[in-house]
Symmetry: C2
């Protein structure tokens, strides 16, 4: 997704995941990659299993055998895409509790997180998911749960530890994490959600994330 993903990427910028040995799993991966590309290009309603068949080179019968229907294929595609994207943030989160400079570590994490969320394909998939939630509520719950479990959950544990050690004073851990996310990555994300052309260069993004982290620490750093 970012410069740190050194591996090969497909036409949509998604990392190409090396095929596992098992051919059924390899086919499943091929179908999911083709489905993601088709959903991103056409939107959910207009995407067709025929086009996914053509893109993947896998027979339609195999697609239905693996996924049953278009809805389940969409869920599988979103559910497989998110963890592989968010995996990039894991080292930044797990290193927070013992970072020599908590402020600097939070800023680095926020900048990486914002860059990931601002990737045009992540934004497009997020918009696509939001647009389908009224007709397809399990998709919104999946997106929220995956992003929450992968990021907010570990941050809650980290802040609990920092609270115990006296570095932070956080009376409501989940709410404080939500506020940190909102006041840092939430700011450019809201603008870019509605205005895909809004430009944020690295300097501006760093400035915004620094300001958001400082606001968070003004409220929650132990005095």
């Amino acid at each position: 997704m970012t410069a740190r993903s050194a591996g090969p990427t497909d036409e949509f910028g998604f990392p190409i995941i090396p095929a596992p040995v098992d051919s059924s799993e390899r086919k499943r991966r091929t179908i999911i990659d083709a489905a993601l590309a088709e959903f991103l290009r056409e939107g959910y309603a207009a995407a067709s299993v025929d086009a996914i068949t053509a893109r993947s080179g896998v027979s339609k019968a195999t697609i239905y055998k693996h996924f049953g229907n278009k809805e389940r294929l969409f869920l599988a595609a979103v559910g497989s895409f998110l963890p592989s994207s968010y995996a990039e943030l894991e080292p930044g989160i797990s290193g927070l509790a013992d970072a020599p400079d908590l402020r600097a570590a939070l800023i680095t994490l926020a900048v990486d997180w914002a860059r990931l969320l601002m990737h045009p394909q992540v934004l497009s998939l997020r918009r696509l998911v939001i647009g389908e939630i009224d007709r397809f509520p399990q998709l919104g719950r999946l997106w929220y749960r995956v992003t929450y479990d992968l990021n907010n959950g570990p941050l809650v544990d980290t802040f609990a530890e920092l609270h115990r050690r006296g570095a932070l004073r956080v009376p409501d851990l989940p709410l404080a994490v939500q506020q940190l996310v909102a006041a840092t990555v939430g700011v450019p994300l809201l603008i870019r959600t509605f205005n895909p052309d809004a430009e944020f260069d690295d300097a501006e993004l760093t400035r915004q994330m620094t300001s958001g982290v400082d606001l968070f620490l003004a409220g929650y750093a132990a005095r």
Copy 2:
């Protein structure tokens, strides 16, 4: 939208705006109301001008005469809905600069704002708009500009005044306003965007908004 909207509302909870004397304007209003109802029920792609014709009781020729095509009708519907909803927040924003208790006034504004954004029909229209932005970018720009002009813009002016008077210390006014919005209404909005069934009772919403306002003031209240 909330208990303060004393006027009559339609089946979707939108205020029924008294018909102006001019019959052309009245027809325009009737078409827009029918279009909003149809778009919310069917989504953008599946909504049909035939159904809007049937809902409104206005001839298809008249609809095309007023709006040209479905896209322009959608833009007009969204553009007319937002200002009438956000008008409820105007007194809360304009009263901030001279409020005897700034913290209490900010909490009241945030709670009113959150209730407005959490209204199921506002959430649905917002999701619908986000889902169409990749195919229809002017819609996202319209939504962002209208909400920004109606709310963030006046808040920037208010905080500039409070900064001049020494009540706040705000080095970057637009960013501080975005952070306030993110850390208050942004928190439940993000959860509800993805999980329409998430419940927030008034006590929980007030608790979240109070915590967000306190975070904002920890960072920006003059000491």
